[in-house]
Amino acid sequence: MKMDHYTDRLLHLLDGTLEPDVEAQLRSEINQSVELQEELSRLQALRGLLQDSMKASSDSALRPFFTDRLMKQLEPEHLKQIEHDDIAFFLTKLFRPVAVAGFIVAMFFAVYNVNISGDFASETTTAEAILGLPPVNTLSVYDLDLFVEEDPTTPSSNP
């Protein structure tokens, strides 16, 4: 028996897409032929095996967030630009109060420093006054303890 001619009809039988009269004729042929019964069985097993294996592989074939990644790629360029602008606007909005608060604190300290700088008798520059730095002049350098007295008990390196 030339099985090639039957393969497609057997597949149609498995699909349930044969015309009723064709199906009835094929069923009677199958009933009379062990070879056809074996072929149908093999075909069914092969198809089941293929579909089962492909289904198992396809379940983990796509990486996570497939739809999100795809939709991102489909976004027009001008929409992506708008999104970037949105982020910049959000960051500006978020940091504006911090910047304003920082400026007010800095101004407060500057005014405070200028006010107390009048208490020092020594000469103070405007920058030192605003930054609250201690006054430094030639005389005040001598007040700094920069020189270390040598210990007389320690032997000198130069004889």
């Binding site: 090639d4 597949l11 009933n31 293929l50 579909q51 289904k55 396809s58 796509l62 497939f66 739809t67």
Partner: protein, 206 residues
């Protein structure tokens, strides 16, 4: 007597059989909205069909890192050419046709790559990554790997016929139309491919 064989046999084409009229109508509505630029509607279609497209691509390419890229290419191509979709076939059939073409492109790219970097003795099986799913037993993983290896043994054109006719469950006429092939060519490729698969997979089928 042969009815025993068909007892308990569920038609192996859930994809096609699930396409009830209401489903087709819903698809049509989403497709129409997507054509008008409604991206949310297209997103629904992507969510609905990504697994089915992935199954087609995995069948063609075997399990590999390329699958995700090819499925993305399929949907991008679909989105770009949505205006040309007239609705003569179902949306899923339209997607599958694109997926098969994109997979064949990927196989050609793979062949060029192998020709450039590997010796002629190596074949494209080397691109296939073995399946290992911890949810399955060792035997099951081995079975899946063997089936993929058997399919990769087929020439790409024969593989496309097997995928559409045997795995996806499209009729021979639909397969011929989707691949732009004469009916007789599909039948002969189907017959030869089946014979080869049966030779390799007979131990698993018993």
């Amino acid at each position: 007597m042969f009815d025993i064989l068909l007892n308990g046999y569920e038609p192996l084409n859930p994809i096609l059989l699930n396409l009830s009229d209401s489903k087709v109508d819903a698809d049509k509505e989403y497709v129409d909205r997507a054509k008008k630029g409604d991206r949310k509607a297209f997103r629904v279609l992507v969510d609905t069909y990504q697994q089915q497209v992935a199954m087609t691509v995995v069948s063609m390419l075997g399990p590999s890192a390329e699958v995700d890229d090819v499925v993305q290419e399929t949907f991008i191509k679909c989105y770009q050419s949505l205006g040309r979709f007239r609705g003569d076939s179902s949306f899923l059939t339209y997607l599958k046709r694109i997926a098969i073409n994109k997979s064949l492109d990927a196989l050609r790219r793979r062949k060029r790559f192998l020709g450039r970097f590997l010796s002629r003795d190596d074949d494209n099986k080397q691109m296939q990554e073995p399946v290992y799913d911890s949810d399955f037993s060792y035997e099951r993983n081995e079975q899946v790997n063997l089936v993929h290896t058997a399919i990769q043994e087929l020439p790409p054109n024969h593989r496309a016929v097997i995928v559409l006719r045997m795995i996806e469950g499209y009729s021979t006429e639909e397969t011929a139309e989707m691949l732009n092939l004469p009916y007789g060519t599909v039948l002969s490729r189907l017959s030869r491919a089946q014979k080869k698969l049966k030779d390799i997979l007979t131990p698993l089928m018993s």
